[in-house]
């Protein structure tokens, strides 16, 4: 056995984890090698020293501090809107619901895939090459009905409701803010400013709604995550 091999097994040997021949080989090497014997003596002294380090008693104020912080968290719970508490409960039950959500997503995907594949042959049939007669062009819609205005109005209503949600969630996040660290506050502000910039830069309609949804998701996370609410610190 070389010194390198012996040193690699020294910790296991000293902790009594090497049995039979493996232990005896290390022991044999230690008998013959002065340097490794010294290393073993040092490590054993260290191990023993660590084992007998005196326990450190927690200060009497610790329990009071814990109770105070729990009380603070409970007050924060009570101030949280009901839908947020429900969301937090859902979040706790995540493992089971997560599986359910996955199964649901798989079913939706399968259905979507089948529907697409069912539509494909229909499109082929509709191809002019396969039809004996040219198709009649559809009659133009009467000029009096302008659908684009209604669509634009619907999109504007949807955007407005997104904006209202953002206002509501921002207020909730403000409540939570009291429990965040300075780092976290800064990170939050920067991110929200960036997302709002993206909303302003997005064109009307779907792109803007998409940008709103990104901000809403971020605010929901910021306002509901328990670890953020507790200490604003530990991840």
């Amino acid at each position: 056995m070389t010194c390198t091999e012996a040193r690699e097994q020294l910790t296991a040997y000293l902790d009594g984890e090497l049995e039979g021949e493996r232990g005896s080989a290390v022991r044999g090497h230690l008998r013959a090698c002065e340097a490794c014997r010294q290393a073993a003596t040092d490590e054993a002294a260290l191990r023993d020293g660590l084992r007998v380090l005196p326990p450190v008693d927690p200060p009497a104020s610790l329990w009071a501090g814990v109770q105070a912080r729990l009380a603070q968290a409970e007050v924060a719970d009570a101030e949280r809107p009901a839908w947020r508490r429900a969301l937090a409960r859902w979040w706790l039950a995540r493992p089971q619901l997560g599986l359910g959500a996955l199964a649901l997503a798989a079913i939706v995907l399968v259905i979507a895939w089948r529907v697409r594949h069912r539509e494909a042959p229909l499109q082929q049939v509709a191809s002019p090459l396969l039809l004996p007669l040219p198709l009649q062009a559809p009659a133009p819609a009467p000029a009096s009905i302008d659908v684009s205005d209604e669509l634009a109005a619907a999109a504007a209503r949807e955007t407005a409701s997104y904006a209202a949600t953002v206002v509501e969630l921002s207020a909730d996040a403000e409540h939570e803010r009291a429990y965040w660290s300075d780092d976290h506050k800064q990170q939050f502000d920067t991110h929200v400013a960036e997302l709002k910039k993206q909303i302003a830069a997005a064109t009307d309609g779907r792109p803007r709604q998409k940008a709103y949804r990104a901000l809403i998701r971020y605010l929901q996370r910021a306002a509901t995550r328990d670890d953020v609410a507790l200490a604003g610190s530990v991840h």
Binding site: T41, L53, G65, A68, L230, A231
Partner: protein
């Protein structure tokens, strides 16, 4: 202002206690957990007393004496608040020690990021306790050297050598393989010997 000071300003009404539905003696972890989930003060205090020394001791040796109380507070708050989500995949003790190590290590990371505290201050200034018979100063030197170790090594030394947990328990707490745990311990002890070498670790 500290967290405690913030709460001190809140009114502290006498809260109605949940009525215990369990016998006077909480036989096992499952009963203790159930009672804590219901918010029974007696069970919560029992759990605290059961784990306070180890939680505080680990925090003390990983983050140093100045910040140990804050970390330990955070751990217990996370324990009580997290019990609802505790599924019992591991033993209660393993889960609590994992929370402790994680809270201590992330506290160190935050402290390093903020650079509020110089590296030298991270070394705990511990008075020499009268323990080691052969070398009265050894314990103090070991505490000092512990404070100079990289945080990961400190964690494994505290769990395995100081707290006397098995490799299997350490691996479960640190969420790594048993083999990784053993090799980390080996490297940690080697680093400790280097740190102690100038003054001699052997009696």
């Amino acid at each position: 202002m500290t967290e405690t000071a913030v709460v001190d300003s809140l009114p502290s009404p006498v809260l109605a206690e949940p009525r215990p539905r369990v016998p006077a003696v909480l036989a096992d972890d499952a009963q203790l957990i159930a009672a804590c989930r219901r918010g029974e003060a007696r069970a919560m205090e029992m759990l605290y007393h059961q784990y306070k020394r180890r939680v505080f001791g680990m925090a003390h040796r990983i983050v140093g004496p100045n910040d140990a109380e804050e970390v330990a507070q955070e751990v217990f708050v996370r324990v009580y608040r997290g019990l609802a989500a505790f599924r019992g995949d591991s033993a209660l003790s393993t889960w609590i020690y994992r929370l402790t190590v994680n809270a201590a290590l992330s506290y160190l990371a935050r402290r390093a990021r903020r650079q509020e505290i110089a590296v030298d201050d991270a070394m705990p200034d511990v008075p020499a306790p009268p323990v080691a018979e052969r070398d009265p100063g050894l314990a103090a030197r070991i505490e000092t050297a512990l404070g100079q170790l990289p945080a990961g090594y400190r964690a494994i030394l505290v769990l395995h050598d100081v707290e006397g947990l098995s490799h299997e328990e350490c691996a479960a707490i640190l969420e790594c393989r048993v083999g990784t745990c053993k090799s980390q311990l080996h490297k940690a002890r080697a680093r400790m010997r280097e740190l102690l070498a100038p003054i001699g670790v052997a009696p």
